[in-house]
């Protein structure tokens, strides 16, 4: 489907992708009075990639800014980033993303994006992250409306398959639109087509067959064709090709696009067992936001990539409501049956766990130090006996947020190749995020990178033609 009857095959600027980075780039370039064509692989109803699942972006501010309280300085922001990436970052690019984030807040507002105070249950982010009113899809609706009003040519169901490159120049871009292979000859190209996490075969190459049981939290359209195609043609890469950001989510989630609601915050208050009803890791090692990404990987290493988080009625209201109701049992045996776990083993492990709990003050809001005694693996915090029926269980599976492998860019978002910087190719968003996020993740930074480098790419590409 395409909004336009005719297609401009020779635009000044061709933008590949239809998420936050792509639209920011397209709008910016269009404001330089260039002709801009956007090719989005998804149909209109699913436009916007992973950006449609987001809720906020991380934003530096020297004084209270809109919905953001106090201040969040460049150095604080950088510190937070260095901590989560264990210094595996490009500081120059990181500082650009951080510094520009402040003016991005205004840019977004000018283009119809609206903010809201941090959502109930996310108070810890109220100083650092600006929440989009209505979430990422509302943000995209505003950006798409702006792009449309400005005269950006938008095509949906338009999957880019490959770019033809000679030396440091992109000559042609090929795309599938309405079952036809079409050739574009743009002056400049901005790629903003996300990572490759929806390419299950690609994930299997890094993770083996286990990846078949992974759930992809976001769009099924980020299959990495463009990224792979470019990497095969001498572009430089950054980021570990085998790594992905995977968190523990509800095992009953849809294979794709389950989004934010499938997350589960019950692990710290629970006992987590694998399909044989064995514990395998310290559930209370740290606050959940600091541990949820580790659990994705932990579960990926269990047989069938599944685990079960078991709690009792004391803890059922301690975390954000879950999208699916928990599996319930009035006794441990009944719960085991409902979860298809070996009942005897489950009863035994809970008995052992309960016996290892000691008296002390339980506080769900901080590291309460209430750890088990003599248990292996230990549970370091929130270890309170699980003995108050009814009992509840949630199946857990690894949910992939994004992949780390990306294109290497310079400070002007220009893509770098083995033959030097590309003359007319820029990249923005997830597809280059590996340049800044070598490992780990900082909540809200994905959208910051997409917005800031989207705007830079749009400016630079427009200046080129």
């Amino acid at each position: 489907m395409s909004k336009h009857q005719t297609i401009n095959f020779q635009p000044d600027i061709l933008v590949v992708g239809g998420g936050n980075a792509a639209l920011t780039a397209a709008i910016t370039a269009r404001k330089f009075r260039k002709t801009v064509v956007v090719l989005e692989a998804a149909p209109c109803a699913y436009r916007g990639g992973n950006s449609r699942h987001t809720r906020n972006f991380r934003c530096m501010h020297r004084a209270p800014l809109g919905v953001l309280s106090d201040q969040y300085s460049e150095d604080e922001f950088l510190d937070d980033l260095l901590k989560v990436t264990r210094c595996n970052t490009n500081e120059t690019l990181a500082r650009i993303a951080i510094r520009e984030s402040e003016s991005m807040y205004h840019w977004m507002e000018e283009h119809g994006v609206r903010f809201q105070p941090s959502l109930s249950g996310t108070l810890s982010l109220s100083q650092t992250n600006a929440f989009f009113l209505g979430g990422g899809k509302a943000l995209l609706n505003a950006l798409y409306a702006t792009a449309e009003d400005l005269g950006v040519e938008l095509h949906y169901d338009a999957e880019v398959t490959h770019l033809v490159i000679s030396g440091t120049e992109v000559n042609d871009v090929y795309a599938h639109i309405n079952n036809q292979e079409l050739q574009f000859k743009p002056s400049s190209v901005i790629v903003a087509s996300g990572g490759f996490q929806a390419d299950i075969d690609g994930l299997c190459r890094a993770w083996g067959q286990a990846a078949r049981n992974f759930i992809i939290r976001g769009t099924p359209f980020n299959k990495g064709q463009v990224l792979n195609n470019l990497l095969q043609q001498n572009m430089l890469s950054v980021g570990d090709p085998t790594q992905c950001h995977a968190v523990a989510i509800d095992g009953r989630s849809p294979k794709f696009d389950g989004g934010i609601v499938t997350r589960l915050d019950c692990v710290p208050f629970s006992v987590v067992v694998n399909h044989k009803a064995e514990r395998f890791y310290d559930e209370g090692e740290d606050l959940w936001p600091k541990r949820y990404a580790i659990w994705g990987r932990l579960i990926a290493h269990q047989q069938d990539q599944i685990a079960y988080s078991i709690i009792d009625s004391q803890s059922i209201n301690l975390f954000m409501p879950s999208v699916f109701p928990p599996v319930r049992g009035d006794s441990i045996e009944e719960l085991a049956q409902n979860l298809a776990l070996p009942a005897k083993e489950l009863a035994k492990i809970l008995q052992t766990f309960n016996a290892a709990c000691r008296a002390g003050h339980f506080d769900p809001n901080c590291l309460d130090g209430l750890g088990t005694v003599g248990l292996k693996p230990q549970k370091s915090n929130w270890a309170r006996p699980i003995d108050q029926p009814p009992f509840y269980g949630y199946p857990l599976r690894p949910g992939v947020t994004f992949t780390y492998l990306g294109l290497k860019i310079d400070e002007s978002a220009r893509v770098e190749s083995r033959c030097g910087p590309m003359a007319n190719l820029w990249a923005a968003g997830e597809i280059m995020a590996g340049s800044i996020l070598g490992e780990g993740y900082l909540a809200g930074f994905g959208m910051t990178i997409g917005s800031v480098f989207g705007r830079i790419a749009g400016q630079e590409a427009a200046r080129h033609v």
Binding site: A45, S120, K137, G259, P321
Partner: protein
């Protein structure tokens, strides 16, 4: 009284509560995010807080074709339809209008026939102007009960509603907050003040707020006009017709004009709005009501403009018939939303924590 609409709403609100992205849009979402489970009465309350601004549909990443198939504006409007029936009296009549909104049009035809019959069968011996066609006493005998009896039945239902949503004794502060929200239509502002998504889909406009308030203000002006006429009649012994520069007319004419304009405007907006985002029989009933209200106002205006011509008796019959229909249908029509909505907003103001037995 768990209905299929309630059950479907429960499923959807559970998903919303795990997401909360729409928290800033409206009062309904403020309530949702304070709860963990949703019993039927809570759902009824939330549904009546929803103004069908549609923000939470266009912003939702889980709408059809996604398997979660969220359509919160629609399911809440279905619950509201159900509430409308459940709390009206007698229910069987309410169901009849709910299932076949066109029945409202038949009431109009029957009313017209009745008014004409009375005009012909009971011609007044004295009286001027309108009262030469139908005497004041006859009018009173028809319209007073036609107004009061349905209203009394409706009040019983409203009381039950108030009890079910957990309403407590009302303080001035609750009432003024409820009235403030109703007067500003805050819940159609989108939370950011850009308006709602009703007719322009993903984009926000204030049109629905303006059209609504044209009707609402027009209605209040007409109400004031009628009251002032009643006072002039009984207290000052000045029966109708009144000159242009009298209180009833200076209130009534702008009021009538506002209603007619508002009804046409709203009708235009509804035609552009996406039909899938509200309960279809509800939407049809709304349409019929808009036409009816518009007819009351238009026939009133025409009666004023052409009252001295030979068209007067016909126009009078039309006006009286439409007013009669309007009165009779108060408990079963869109008119009830004003009361349900106000009570719900007052309840919302009463401690934003809602009754929740679970």
């Amino acid at each position: 009284m768990s209905s299929s609409a309630h059950n479907e709403a429960r499923r959807q609100l559970q998903i919303c509560n795990a997401c909360r992205y729409c928290e800033g849009y409206c009062a309904a979402f403020h309530s949702i995010t304070q709860l963990r489970t949703f019993d039927d009465n809570t759902i009824t309350h939330i549904a009546n807080l929803c103004h069908n601004c549609r923000g939470c549909f266009y912003a939702c990443q889980y709408t059809d074709p996604h398997e979660f198939a969220l359509n919160v504006p629609r399911v809440l409007s279905e619950v509201r339809s159900h509430t409308g029936m459940e709390y009206s009296w007698p229910k069987s009549i309410a169901r009849l209008f709910h299932r076949f909104p066109k029945n409202m049009a038949y009431i109009m035809i029957v009313s017209l026939a009745a008014i004409l019959l009375i005009m012909i069968g009971l011609p007044p011996t004295t009286g001027k102007g309108f009262y030469a066609i139908m005497s004041h006493n006859v009018m009173l005998t028809i319209f007073l009960p036609a107004f009061l009896i349905p209203l009394m039945g409706f009040t019983v239902g409203l009381r039950r509603y108030w009890r079910d949503i957990g309403g407590r004794s009302i303080r001035i502060s609750h009432l003024s907050e409820g009235l403030r929200q109703a007067a500003t239509l805050e819940n159609l502002s989108g939370g950011h003040g850009d308006g709602c998504n009703f007719e322009r889909h993903e984009r926000f406009t204030h049109q629905r707020r303006y059209a609504h308030h044209a009707i609402a203000c027009g209605f209040l002006l007409c109400l004031a006009s009628t009251l002032s006429g009643t006072i002039l009649h009984y207290v000052f012994n000045q029966p109708a017709p009144y000159p242009v520069f009298s209180l009833p007319k200076t209130l009534g004419i702008p009021g009538g004009l506002l209603i007619v304009i508002g009804c046409l405007w709203m009708h235009g907006l509804k035609k552009r709005a996406h039909p899938e985002l509200s309960d279809s029989s509800h939407a049809k009933a709304d349409d019929v009501f808009l036409w009816l209200l518009g007819l009351v106002a238009l026939s009133g205006l025409l009666l004023f403009g052409l009252g001295h011509t030979i068209l007067m008796p016909t126009l009078l019959a039309l006006h009286l018939a439409s007013v009669l229909t309007f009165f009779l249908l108060i408990p079963y029509s869109k008119m009830t939303h004003a009361f349900f909505r106000l009570l719900t907003l007052v309840k919302h103001a009463q401690g934003k924590s809602i009754l929740n037995k679970n």
